[in-house]
C-alpha cells in the first residue's frame, strides 16, 4: 500500500492509447484490403477496362460531325460548314437579333419612353412568307413568354456587343437584362393601352440603371449594370424582338418538336432622349440587327418600324440572350458530352466492386478476414475506402483525358462547344471520379448484402444506368424520367452537368439536352444518400449474419 509504487493509469492516456491502437489497426486493415485488391489481376484489369471503355465510347463512338453540301458542290464537313456564332462579352455564344431604332448617345444621358402595346405573331411556314406581299399570311396572333419590347443602350449594332436593356415581356412582366446572361425582374403584369409601362435607362459612364413606372411620375429602380469598357459614344433606342415559338409534345417513345419564328410589335410614345449627340433632336435610324445570324430564331421578313408624329411602331424577331442547348440551337456540344462513356466505366467498376466483396464469400476468405478483424464494420469500411479510392482515380484519369480531347474533336468537326468556367470544368472532372467512387461503394455494399454477385451487379446497373437510359432513349414520358433522375442513384450524374440554365430563355431543360433536374451537388447528394443507406444495411447484415 505504499504510495508511489503504482502508476495510476490516467483515463485520457488509456483513451489515447486505444485511439492510437484503433488507427493503427485500421491502417493495417486498409493495407490488407489494398493488397487483396492489387493482387487479383482481374480486378486491376477491370479498372483499366473501365478507363479504356470510357475513352472509347466518349471519344470514338460519341462523335458528331457537321456535314453540308451546297447545291451540287462537293460534300464538306466540319468547320467549313459552320458560320461562327456571335460571342457575348463573357465569351459565351449568344443570340443577338432584334429590330433597333436608335441614335448615338454620349457618356451620360437618359432615355425615357412609354410602351403602350406589345403584340405578336407566330407559326407559319418556317419563316418563308406564304405570299411575298403579306409576310403575316399564315401566322397566328400571340406572344411568346419572352417576346420583348423596350429600350436598350448598346456598345454598337454589332452582334455580341455589351448592352443593358429594360423591357416588357410576353408573360414575365418588366425585366432589366444586360450582357445576355443577367436578368432582373421588375413590375409584373402585361402591357396594354389601359396599363402602359414607362421605361427609363440612365447612363453615367460605364454604369447603366434601369427604372420602370406605371405613370411616368413615380419611378422604381429595377436594376443597375456595370458594363466595363463601354465606348464613349454608344447607340440608344427602342427595340422589339421575339424568340422562336417552340412546341414540344412528349409521347411515350419519342418527343415531337416544332419550331417556328415569331414576331413582336411594340408601340412607343413620349420618347425623350437627353445626352444624344444632336441634343436629343436627331433622326432615328432603324436596323435589323443580326438578321443574317446562321442559327437562331430565324427571320420572318416582316421586321420593320414606322414613325408617325411621336409614335413609333417597331416589329422585330429574334432574341437577345445566351444560346442554350436544345431544339434549334444549331450544332452545339457541352464539355460533358464526351463523358457519356461513364456508363460503360461504371458497369466495369460495379463488377469489380461487387466481386471485391462476394469473392470473399466464395473462397471462404471472409472467415479468415473476420477472424483477423472481429469488428466487422471496419472490414467493410476499409474495403469501401480502397475500392472508392481506386475508382476515383480511374474516373478522374478518364475524364482528364476525355474532356479536353473531346472538346478539340468537336471544334474540328464544326461544333460550338459551350464554354464552362474553370470551376465548372474542375467540378466535372473531379465529379466524374467522385461519381465512380461513390457508385463503387454502393456496389460494394449491395454485394455485401445480397452476396450473389450476379444479382448485385444487376441491381446496381438497373438502379443507375436504366433510369438514365429510360430518359435519353425517351422510353418514358419526360415527367416520369425526370422523376427517376431525382430519386434513383442515377441522380448522381448531375455532377457532370456543365451547362447553365437561363430562366430568361425558354428551352426544354431536360436530361437528354444535358440539364439534370437537381443541381450538380444536389443530385450527387442523392447518390451519396443511397450509398450511405446501403453501407448501413451492409454493416447491419454483416454483424447479424453468420459469415
Amino acid at each position: 500500500m505504499s504510495a508511489g509504487t503504482t502508476t495510476p493509469v490516467r483515463p485520457d492516456d488509456a483513451a489515447g492509447a486505444a485511439r492510437f491502437g484503433f488507427l493503427n489497426g485500421f491502417a493495417s486493415l486498409l493495407r490488407a484490403e489494398w493488397i487483396k485488391f492489387r493482387s487479383v489481376r482481374g480486378w486491376v484489369i477491370g479498372m483499366i477496362v473501365a478507363v479504356v471503355v470510357m475513352e472509347f465510347m466518349g471519344l470514338f463512338l460519341a462523335q458528331a460531325h457537321v456535314g453540308c453540301q451546297v447545291s451540287g458542290g462537293p460534300a464538306k464537313s466540319g468547320a467549313a460548314c459552320v458560320q461562327p456564332m456571335p460571342l457575348g462579352p463573357g465569351g459565351e455564344a449568344v443570340n443577338d437579333q432584334y429590330y433597333f431604332v436608335h441614335q448615338p448617345l454620349g457618356s451620360s444621358g437618359t432615355l425615357t419612353v412609354r410602351l403602350t402595346s406589345l403584340t405578336g405573331w407566330y407559326g407559319g411556314n418556317g419563316g418563308v412568307p406564304a405570299a411575298p406581299s403579306n409576310p403575316l399570311a399564315g401566322l397566328q396572333r400571340g406572344l411568346q413568354p419572352w417576346s420583348k419590347a423596350g429600350i436598350i443602350i448598346t456598345d454598337s449594332t454589332k452582334q455580341g456587343s455589351a448592352y443593358a436593356a429594360i423591357m416588357s415581356t410576353g408573360s414575365h412582366g418588366v425585366a432589366m437584362q444586360y450582357n445576355y446572361t443577367s436578368s432582373v425582374a421588375g413590375r409584373p403584369g402585361a402591357v396594354g393601352p389601359a396599363s402602359p409601362r414607362w421605361l427609363r435607362l440612365v447612363r453615367s459612364g460605364d454604369a447603366i440603371s434601369g427604372y420602370d413606372s406605371a405613370d411616368g411620375a413615380h419611378w422604381t429602380l429595377v436594376g443597375a449594370a456595370h458594363l466595363a469598357g463601354l465606348a464613349d459614344t454608344v447607340q440608344a433606342g427602342m427595340f422589339a424582338t421575339s424568340p422562336q415559338h417552340t412546341q414540344v409534345t412528349q409521347f411515350v417513345g419519342h418527343s415531337q418538336g416544332q419550331i417556328s419564328p415569331s414576331l413582336a410589335t411594340g408601340v412607343f410614345d413620349h420618347v425623350r432622349l437627353s445626352g444624344g449627340s444632336a441634343g436629343g433632336g436627331g433622326a432615328w435610324t432603324g436596323d435589323n440587327v443580326g438578321s443574317n445570324q446562321p442559327f437562331g430564331p430565324g427571320s420572318t421578313q416582316a421586321e420593320t418600324f414606322h414613325q408617325a408624329g411621336g409614335r413609333f411602331t417597331i416589329t422585330g424577331s429574334g432574341d437577345i440572350a445566351p444560346v442554350v442547348n436544345g431544339m434549334g440551337s444549331g450544332p452545339t456540344a457541352s464539355i460533358s458530352q464526351h463523358l457519356i462513356g461513364t456508363f460503360a466505366g461504371l458497369i466495369a467498376v460495379a463488377v469489380v466492386a461487387v466481386m471485391f466483396m462476394t469473392a470473399e464469400y466464395r473462397r471462404g476468405l471472409i472467415r479468415l478476414t473476420l477472424a483477423a478483424s472481429p469488428r466487422r464494420w471496419r472490414v467493410l469500411v476499409a474495403k469501401a475506402v480502397v475500392v472508392g479510392a481506386v475508382s476515383f482515380v480511374a474516373g478522374l484519369v478518364a475524364a482528364v483525358i476525355a474532356v479536353p480531347i473531346g472538346a478539340h474533336i468537336d471544334h474540328v468537326n464544326g461544333l460550338y462547344v459551350f464554354q464552362a468556367s474553370a470551376a465548372t470544368t474542375a467540378r466535372v472532372l473531379a465529379g466524374t471520379g467522385l461519381l465512380l467512387a461513390v457508385m463503387a461503394v454502393l456496389a460494394l455494399a449491395i454485394g455485401s448484402m445480397v452476396r450473389r454477385s450476379a444479382v448485385a451487379v444487376t441491381a446496381v446497373i438497373v438502379g443507375i444506368v436504366v433510369p438514365y437510359f429510360l430518359g435519353v432513349a425517351q422510353v418514358l414520358p419526360t415527367s416520369a424520367s425526370e422523376w427517376l433522375m431525382r430519386v434513383t442513384p442515377a441522380a448522381g450524374f448531375s455532377v457532370q452537368q456543365s451547362l447553365v440554365v437561363y430562366p430568361q430563355v425558354t428551352n426544354s431543360y431536360t436530361t437528354p439536352n444535358g440539364y439534370y433536374p437537381l443541381g450538380p451537388w444536389g443530385g450527387f447528394a442523392v447518390l451519396c444518400g443511397w450509398a450511405l443507406v446501403a453501407m448501413a444495411g451492409a454493416v447491419y447484415l454483416l454483424r447479424r449474419r453468420d459469415a
Binding site: 462523335q63 417513345g253 457519356i340 463488377v351 466464395r362 450476379a454 444479382v455 444487376t458 446497373i461 437528354p512
Partner: protein, 267 residues
C-alpha cells in the same frame, strides 16, 4: 441412335433436376413475370392521349415496355445457370458425368430458354391484358388509329410473339456469355452493357444521323425490339423480323464462342 437419344434425355433430365431443386430459378421466373407486367402496367397507367391531340404512339411498344426491365431478370437467370456451377465446383462433376461438353451447353440452353419462353409468355400476355384494360380508357382507341390490343390483330400478334422470342434470345445470349467468361459478375456486366449501352450512345451522337442509324441497326436490344413496332414500319432502320435476326446473330455468336471456350478450356 437410341443410345444418343437416351443420353440427350439424361442430359436434359440432369439439368432440369439442377434447376428445379434450388429456389433461385423459380424466384427469378416469377420476377420476370412481375417486372414485365408491373412496368408495362405502370407505363399504361401513366400514359394519356387527350382528345383532339395527335399522339404518335405505338400501343404495342407502350404496353410491352416491361420487356426493357424483364430482360435483366432473364440475364441473371441464364448467367447463374452456368456461373453457379463454376463457383461451387459442380461443373467438374457435371462434366465428369457428361463428357460431351457441347451437350451440356445444349441441354442448359434448351431448358433455360424453354422456361424463359413460358414465363415470358405469361408476362407478355399479362402486359397485353393490362394494356387492353387501361389504354382504350386513356384515349388510345382503335377508332383514333391506334393498333388494337388484341392477338387477332396481325402486327400486334407479331409484336407479342416477337417479344417472347426476344426474351428467349436474350437467355441464349446470356448463356453464351456466361460459358465464355464464367465469372457471374463479369458475365452479367457484359450482357447488360451490350443491351443498355447502345441506346445511350445512339442518343449522344445526335448530330450524325448516319452513324446513329448504323448503331441502331447493330445494337442487340434496339434491333431486337423492332419486333414490337406496329406503326411507322417504313421509318425503322430495319424491318421487325430483320431486327430480331440481328439479335439472333448476337446470340448465336455468343453461344458459339461459349461452346468453343467450354470445350477447349479446363473447367
Amino acid at each position: 441412335m437410341n443410345m444418343t437419344l437416351a443420353v440427350r434425355r439424361d442430359a436434359l433430365h440432369a439439368e432440369w433436376t439442377k434447376l428445379r431443386t434450388v429456389s433461385g430459378p423459380a424466384w427469378l421466373l416469377a420476377g420476370l413475370v412481375a417486372a414485365t407486367v408491373g412496368v408495362g402496367a405502370a407505363v399504361d397507367a401513366a400514359s394519356r392521349c387527350p382528345a383532339g391531340e395527335v399522339c404518335q404512339v405505338d400501343t404495342a411498344k407502350l404496353t410491352f415496355t416491361g420487356i426493357d426491365l424483364g430482360q435483366a431478370v432473364v440475364a441473371i437467370l441464364a448467367v447463374l445457370a452456368f456461373s453457379n456451377e463454376y463457383s461451387n465446383g459442380m461443373i467438374r462433376v457435371t462434366l465428369a458425368a457428361m463428357p460431351r461438353r457441347g451437350l451440356v451447353l445444349a441441354a442448359k440452353a434448351a431448358l433455360v430458354t424453354g422456361l424463359v419462353l413460358v414465363a415470358g409468355a405469361v408476362g407478355v400476355l399479362g402486359s397485353l391484358l393490362a394494356g387492353r384494360l387501361m389504354l382504350p380508357g386513356h384515349g388510345y382507341t382503335v377508332a383514333r388509329g391506334f393498333t388494337a390490343l388484341s392477338l387477332s390483330d396481325g402486327p400486334m400478334l407479331r409484336a407479342a410473339a416477337g417479344s417472347i422470342l426476344y426474351l428467349g434470345l436474350i437467355a441464349l445470349l446470356s448463356l453464351g456469355v456466361a460459358a465464355l467468361v464464367r465469372e457471374a459478375a463479369v458475365a452479367i456486366g457484359v450482357v447488360l452493357a451490350l443491351l443498355y449501352l447502345f441506346p445511350i450512345i445512339v442518343a449522344s451522337v445526335g448530330a450524325d444521323p448516319h452513324w446513329q442509324r448504323h448503331l441502331e441497326q447493330i445494337g442487340p436490344m434496339q434491333a431486337g425490339l423492332y419486333i414490337q413496332a406496329t406503326t411507322n414500319l417504313h421509318a425503322l432502320p430495319l424491318s421487325p423480323w430483320a431486327g430480331l435476326g440481328v439479335l439472333a446473330l448476337w446470340s448465336a455468336g455468343a453461344l458459339l464462342l461459349g461452346a468453343l471456350s467450354l470445350s477447349l478450356r479446363d473447367a
